[in-house]
Symmetry: C2
Subunit: 151 residues, 2 copies
């Protein structure tokens, strides 16, 4: 995370935003959630330069979002797999996807579908109130500064 200074006002939005808002990182995670695991596969799927890929994979491993693991195929290979922490980013990616479906959908429609593995239903993401259960939008939420209010 080269530009963590970007988020030096320690905040639980800006820290992850600084990490994920780095070129390629979100794309890389998308690819990981689609099942890509090997260096070569990331490289060809995303058409990213090898040096930058090395670096990004490295940061994500450092951050504990991916785990680098050797395994025996016909010979020793390495794979990058999502950790618990990484898998926990799923809502972010799905939210991105839902937004993309709605606002940036290419004419041919999305390139893959998501369904509930057991019942086959569509997947959704919702911001909701843990108290009353209502589904909320930005306007229904009140922000309360806790420390030195940010400007």
């Amino acid at each position: 995370m080269a530009h963590v200074k970007v988020a030096d006002e320690l905040c639980t939005v800006s820290l992850p935003a600084a990490l994920l808002g780095e070129r390629w990182t979100l794309l890389l995670l998308r690819q990981a959630f689609l099942g890509t695991r090997r260096f070569e596969d990331f490289q060809t799927a995303m058409d990213i330069s090898r040096s930058v890929l090395t670096e990004r994979l490295g940061t994500l491993v450092e951050e504990g979002i991916l785990r680098r693991e050797a395994y025996k195929d016909v010979r020793t290979r390495y794979e990058y797999r999502l950790t618990e922490k990484g898998l926990d980013l799923y809502p972010v990616l799905v939210a991105l996807r839902k937004w993309g479906d709605r606002w940036m959908s290419p004419d041919e429609g999305p390139s893959f579908d998501l369904h509930h593995r057991t019942c086959g239903g569509d997947i959704g993401v919702h911001v909701s109130c843990e108290g009353c259960g209502d589904v909320l939008t930005a306007r229904d939420v009140r922000v309360t500064p806790l420390r030195d209010s940010p400007a």
Copy 2:
């Protein structure tokens, strides 16, 4: 969106990922959702260079996520406000925040709280099945490629 080629495999995850995964963009949106609207306020709150801020605000306006509007204070000012399309990114930001709370929380805890405006309850984001209503994780979801399967 300088590096849209990054996402030329047209996909409703990679398009937004390429847009938001650009340095500063997510931070800028966080700031916008916190209520920042003016050039100067963004600049000082995020400590971003003015030229890059100009450019980022520009792309977000082009993309229809922000709207630039003149208004009369003591004199004519400009503000950048979230459009409908922009507001609709809220789940992404909240998902980021939730993940940050869980995995990157600084010792002092988060710097602001979110509550349901009407009932005061906590805010959550969940991936769920629109069919059966279950809350899902990445492992509960099946991916079905629709076009040329991406490697």
